[in-house]
């Protein structure tokens, strides 16, 4: 144990260990790790700009009450399953699954064995394994094109409640599916914590798109650890749109293991107040003839802070890789800030890669021009912000998800046109 009592992990002290035992070896390693674990400080490179000390001010509890004052949905046409604080809300979940899709709840699962990708020696991965509330395994059968999107909704409710949830997805060869993850908070939810874990296998020639909407509240903590493995000829697309949240950290790790893969990462973070959103992404090209595209855009107002850390590895054998990465930011106030660090590590010699990062303010000249046409200053600013993020939003292939995202932006920032 550390002699400095402030450094230990206090926020989990009241939690009950999970009865879910999906990967016993890994769970044991997680438990061992947590005995001596400390909260990472900003001296730790991975957490340089994200302070976690606030977590230790809350004694999180688990809560199995799944009643909600209203339902949450993103795509009304999707097959929807709802979890409240990590517990299945049966009344808000569809029982009928699309053809070719099988879903197994991790709680009570006796049949499926899993070999997990989670790192048990990483704090939030370890906590997730040790205190797992529940989880689901989504299996998409070979050669099935699933027309109906699968929507997994998570709602935080109550005070100081933690949800440790794991989603495992396997899209078999030649399958195609759109999965939506929505993260919300009920009105009045205070200091809740979504500790989310996601593991995906995209098998040969499969096409998987994941639309992730983060729309919790200003007091909510959200940490996501997402691990994706892509096999040959597969396509993986993720749209991460952070519309609301207090302290948000997304760790997105994609390993491209097979040749001829496409990988797309799109994200926005639109912040005000004292919100903090940190996107750490890794695309690891291990084999040749693949392409990856990454575009993240942020708009920060008030005293909000953003972090973008994007890493692209191109390993020695990974020739003929096209990898593009870009991060652009607009600061709307003098007190908002962004730390942006795009990184390329290239060990192959026949590749096309680029990366870039820009940070600026709204173009005053453009605002004046719009005003001279009779558009108010506020509308002019909104038009420009909207245009800025539109380049990312237009990549959401699911029309309903895109409309939902845009209408929430209208609600929150008054960007209606």
């Amino acid at each position: 144990m550390s002699t400095d009592s402030n450094k230990g992990i206090k926020f989990t002290e009241q939690l009950q260990s999970t009865a879910i035992n999906i990967d016993p070896d890994l769970k044991k390693r997680a438990n061992d790790f947590l005995k001596d674990a400390e909260l990472p400080t900003t001296r730790n490179e991975a957490w340089k700009y994200t302070r976690l000390a606030k977590l230790n001010k809350v004694a999180f509890v688990q809560n199995e009450d799944t009643s909600l004052s209203r339902s949450f949905e993103i795509d009304r046409e999707a097959c929807r399953i709802t979890f409240v604080n990590g517990n299945l809300a049966t009344n808000l979940s569809d029982l009928k699954l699309p053809e070719g899709v099988n879903i197994v709840r991790l709680r009570g699962n006796q049949h499926e064995q899993f070999k997990l990708k989670t790192n048990p020696e990483e704090l939030f991965g370890a906590i997730n394994l040790s205190y797992l509330s529940d989880g689901i395994y989504i299996h998409v059968s070979k050669k099935v094109k699933v027309d109906q999107p699968i929507e997994i909704i998570h709602v935080l409710k109550g005070s100081d409640v933690i949800s440790n949830f794991k989603t495992i997805i396997k899209a078999e060869e030649f399958s195609q599916v759109n999965i939506i993850q929505g993260f919300f908070a009920e009105d009045g939810a205070s200091s809740c914590f979504m500790n989310n874990s996601l593991e995906i296998d995209v098998m040969d020639n499969a096409i998987l798109s994941l639309d992730k909407i983060q729309d919790e509240n200003k007091e909510a903590f959200h940490i996501s650890n997402e691990m994706i493995d892509q096999q040959k000829d597969s396509t993986f697309t993720i749209n991460t749109h952070t519309l609301n949240g207090g302290l948000v950290r997304n760790n997105l790790n994609i390993r491209v293991l097979g040749t001829n893969c496409s990988t797309n990462l799109f994200g926005t973070y639109l912040l005000n107040g004292r919100q903090h959103v940190d996107n750490h992404t890794v695309v690891d090209h291990k084999v040749p003839h693949c392409e990856s595209n990454e575009l993240y855009k942020g708009v920060m107002n008030d005293q909000s802070t953003g972090v973008f850390n994007g890493k692209v590895f191109v390993r020695e054998d990974a020739q003929k890789i096209n990898a593009f990465q870009s991060n652009a930011n607009i600061l709307l106030s003098d007190t908002a800030s962004i730390n942006s660090k795009p990184e390329l590590e290239i060990y192959a010699d026949d590749v096309k890669c680029s990366h870039g990062s820009t940070t600026g303010q709204l173009d005053e000249e453009a605002i004046y021009y719009l005003q001279t046409r009779g558009i108010s200053k506020t509308s002019a600013r909104n038009l420009l912000i909207r245009a800025f993020v539109e380049e990312v939003l237009e990549n959401i292939a699911n029309e309903n998800v895109r409309q939902f995202t845009e209408s929430r932006l209208n609600d929150r920032f008054n960007w209606a046109l």
């Binding site: 000249e365 453009a366 004046y368 719009l370 005003q371 046409r373 558009i375 038009l383 245009a387 800025f388």
Partner: protein, 250 residues
């Protein structure tokens, strides 16, 4: 329409307009000419409401109201239009979207109902034809990737859409070839009516062959120093501005 009296304006402590007087009535076209640095573009910016300028003295009455008391967008909604010397490129904002926003904000301000999408599109087709603007440009991002001539035609297209009472064309002719100049001038002449007025700010007499002014004013050192009929423009073209400076010195 507009009555400017003893207008003084400075930028960063430097006085550019030094007691400018000008009155324009509905139905008239006034040309303002003058050498570089005489204050022509400053006048356009001050009237449009650019914030960089400080008005230290004088008044501007626009249709019976105090223009200087209004925000930039309010002036536009009241019917003032500035065609920019250097139109601004706005990536990601479509010409159409922004014009619809502008039109509807203006209509709301005037207590009128919003225009239907159908009527709006019909108007876009009609007005873009007026300045021979490719309808495809109407749906592209504002001025982005437009040629110099397309940008200027886009200014007149916007003017046609917004139907201002007073239009100020700030060096709209600069950089235009003769065909583009004709198109722009034709647009302005077609839009002319007994109820609106135009200020044409230019460096060259050439434009005034196509847009014929009722009055020509010479702006020098922040003041209007000479006013005459359209022939004055020809005289300026021929003799330059030195003779006016000499007249003033006497």
């Amino acid at each position: 329409m507009i009555k400017i009296q003893n207008l003084h304006a400075s930028v960063e402590g430097k006085e550019i307009l030094r007691g400018l007087d000008l009155e324009i009535k509905a139905g008239e076209i006034h040309a303002i000419m003058g050498p570089n640095g005489s204050g022509k573009s400053t006048l356009a910016s001050v009237l449009a409401g650019r914030e960089d300028y400080e008005i230290t003295e004088g008044s501007v009455e626009f249709d019976g109201q105090d223009l200087l008391d209004m925000d930039t967008e309010e002036r536009a909604r009241e019917g003032l239009f500035l065609a920019f010397q250097y139109p601004v490129e706005i990536p990601g904002v479509s010409n159409i979207n922004f014009l619809r926003t502008a039109l509807n904000e203006k209509r709301e301000y005037l207590g009128q109902e919003a225009m239907s999408a159908k009527d709006f599109m019909a108007m876009v087709r009609e007005k873009s034809a007026l300045v021979e603007l490719d309808p495809k440009l109407a749906s592209r991002s504002v001025n982005e990737g437009f040629s110099g001539g397309e940008k200027k035609r886009n200014e007149i297209f916007q003017m046609a859409m917004l139907e201002p009472k007073l239009a100020i064309l700030d060096e709209t002719d600069s950089g235009l070839d003769i065909d583009a100049l004709r198109i722009v001038a034709n647009g302005v002449n077609t839009l002319k009516s007994k109820d609106n007025a135009t200020i044409v700010i230019t460096h060259y007499q050439r434009l005034l062959d196509y847009i014929v002014p009722d009055y020509v004013h010479v702006l020098f050192d922040g003041k209007i120093v000479k006013t005459g009929p359209k022939e004055l423009a020809l005289e300026l073209e021929e003799k330059g501005y030195d003779w006016i400076k000499e007249e003033l010195a006497q």
